[in-house]
Symmetry: C2
Subunit: 455 residues, 2 copies
């Protein structure tokens, strides 16, 4: 197409494609924005947010140091600082959206970068929608090009792919040409990082903020003419080789670009529970068993979750000390769902976990089965959980989930998505609680500078 440079071919698509021609794109971005705001607002009292603001010197003196909102706070800050903090906030509870091709979280990165830049520049809603679509497409296609080895080796793909996705999105938002977009992608690739070893800690959501900030900065620096390698992605020491190893397919970076758009098909996954998506299959199974059987939690003798091999790679915690650590524990999620019949924000706070849940979690074990055939509608592909609960009376209950609630094959209803926002915005001023109305008109907003209300 253009002499076989994967970076150039990608940049051409970022600059020239027309995502707004597909009505479902705007619909998906509106849904993403609602869910992203809910996820960030639910985290406003997260202790890590206060630490991050303190380290950045964003303090009680309030507004005025910049044009970009810190979600849920009364501060405005520079666009780079706002991107960092909002990326953290929106991923802090692991309540934000997921995409199978990323094996991670697109909106925490993309919308944190885009809204911060759009507020400062006064971009329009339509510009933001198009920029989101190409940014998410970049994240997803790079994820498909890198292959599964990338995540398995220890990279946090939300962060590594997000840096490039945010750069692509901001390049599009700010109208960079192809040459400048190539520069932005190179500057993003060289800032890419983030280690999965930090899963279960506040550094995981920090990665989303790091990626948002780095991508935004890459596009800004690229706009000045600051230039790196002509082909930063492909080649023996390029980004794809270094981050993906031998399983990498550079041709997949642009293969089927926008046909369909990745946010339309397979689509975004909006979470009903604020915990790791890899625990959602088991969570649904546990809630179903609890709801159908109505037993008391102390009657559970043991429970076992069967995963496909590697299906629980993100669930790095076995004996959580706090609810926050429990986000990444299959044992804790199953215990909390069986005991309480719900999985709300309170179950995953940074306080020590309840004694009864710790005792129940200790009865939950994991097993792997490579023989069980995954379902065609499984999300992510090939994944499932089979939960078996054995009760004191000797009976057992078994529930299998391949396609968890909220994922594209079993989407939340519009009412459920609004309810998630309403729950998160309960203690916010009226103008914030009305954000769903503003979002429903996103395409028609001429200037996003005042999109986020004052607090």
């Amino acid at each position: 197409m253009s002499g076989g440079s994967p970076t150039r071919e990608l940049a051409e698509r970022i600059v020239r494609s027309e995502p707004l021609k597909e009505a479902k794109v705007a619909e998906a971005v509106r849904a993403a924005m609602l869910d992203w705001l809910a996820s960030a607002m639910a985290a406003a009292s997260d202790p890590g947010a206060a630490m991050l603001l303190s380290a950045l010197g964003i303090g009680a003196e309030g507004r005025g140091a910049g044009a970009s909102s810190i979600l849920g706070f009364r501060y405005r800050a520079s666009a780079t600082d706002a991107a960092l903090v909002n990326g953290y906030l929106s991923h802090a509870l692991d309540y934000d959206d997921v995409h199978e091709s990323v094996r991670g979280h697109p909106s925490a990165v993309l919308l944190s970068a885009l809204l911060a830049e759009a507020e400062e520049r006064g971009s329009s809603g339509a510009e933001l929608i198009a920029a989101y679509a190409v940014g998410a497409e970049t994240m997803c296609r790079l994820g498909l090009a890198l292959g599964s080895r990338h995540y398995e080796a220890g990279w946090h793909s939300t962060s590594t792919l997000g840096t490039l996705g945010a750069a692509a999105a901001c390049a599009r938002l700010t109208g960079l040409d192809v040459e400048a977009t190539i520069r932005a992608l190179g500057l993003a690739a060289t800032q890419s990082g983030g280690l999965r070893v930090h899963f279960g800690s506040a550094v995981k959501p920090l990665h989303a903020g790091m990626a948002a900030r780095a991508g935004l900065f890459a596009a800004r620096l690229a706009a000045t003419g600051f230039a790196g390698a002509e082909e930063p992605l492909a080649g023996p020491i390029g980004f794809l080789s270094l981050f993906g190893g031998e399983g990498t397919s550079p041709e997949r970076v642009v293969e089927a670009w926008g046909q369909p758009w990745q946010i339309v098909e397979p689509g975004l996954w909006f979470k009903p529970y604020p915990c790791c998506s890899a625990a959602h299959h088991a969570a649904d199974a546990a809630l179903a068993i609890r709801s159908e059987s109505g037993f008391a939690a102390e009657k559970v003798v043991r429970a076992e979750v069967v995963f496909p091999p590697g299906g629980d790679a993100a669930l790095v915690v076995r004996e959580p000390k706090t609810g926050a650590e429990g986000r990444f524990s299959a044992e804790y999620v199953v215990a909390a769902a069986l005991a309480d019949g719900e999985l709300g924000i309170d179950a995953f706070s940074d306080r020590p976990i309840r004694g009864d849940l710790a005792r129940l979690a200790a009865k939950v074990s994991r097993r792997y089965d490579a023989e069980l055939a995954p379902a065609p509608n499984a999300m992510p592909k090939g994944r499932f959980a089979v939960l078996t609960v054995e009760l004191a009376d000797g009976t057992t209950r078994t529930e299998r989930v391949d396609c968890p609630r909220g994922s594209p094959g079993r989407p939340l209803s519009a009412e459920e998505r609004i309810a998630k926002f309403s729950d998160a915005s309960r203690e916010f001023p009226a103008a914030w609680r009305e954000l769903p109305d503003r979002i429903s008109l996103l395409e028609t907003i001429e200037n996003l500078s005042d999109f986020i209300p004052d607090i």
Copy 2:
């Protein structure tokens, strides 16, 4: 020592070791600071610096937005911005110091982070010296632990190791305890990045700034209590495994720590020429042949540089278009040295290279010889260049260099180091030209806030 956690063992040494007990440590840091300032000041008119300042919004409105100096400019900025820009400036000409164990550039990262933080906090000269020593030791020991695969795979070690080194240095400077230093190292590891594919462009020096900023921010965020994994460096998906692969030796992170200090032995390498250190052997050889033989450049029929296999990995440019690209071209460096008998700042500007140098560079070829025995004093270990020049009269000249000028085995004299600074500071105000006197008293300075003069 502490239950076998490499990160904890490293943090304990960062916090508790006493580098000032060894007089040669302060001597090395003073030399490093002089050379670092010279390298940055020589780059004040670099076009990338103006682009970077513009992208950061650091503009003509001048001083006052922060406490930390931008070297060679009239601006003060936030410590994080100053660390980023000064890291860029001091590595922009590739004129700054090198360390064999890093396979990269310690001071561009460490001093850019440390001075920015020290100016804001008012740290003392003695505190800065101790912090530099433990930061450099961290960079070097991590480089030894990662092994050669790290660089060869495509990572820019100045940046990857520098992020952790700067975090260690800033942790020490700001008095973090062991637990907070563990947090800082984890926050640094997860920000680590930087691709060697960008060598030959302005992104290479940007990496030094990225690392300085990331390390400084890691220490600040760690100070607030923001916490990640307890063991971010070792383990199957830890930093060492991900960045070093199978050749990694976690035990080398603290092995022989401070015995001797790495900045004392093997010691820092201060460059006489503003180009890649991998070209310095051939540069010395070409200057020696030119000086002894005194021939005119047009008499050269062909020239050949013999390297050990991989000895020219950093010299990624074969046909440079500009002097700046020529920094990473063995062909251009040899041609410029043979033609002009010197290698000054002007030879490596961002202007197109001279026609006579392009023609001469086209006559220079590279060859590899795995059989030639390296010299015991080779720097880096195992490296050399053998240059053979064939003249029109049929005669040849051959010169071999194992230990280049400026490297620890053949150090620049104090006068030569002062001369490098004087050359770089020619057009600066008197107070800047007197910085060598201030540096000579570094241990006695109580407060570094006003160390860098106004312009």
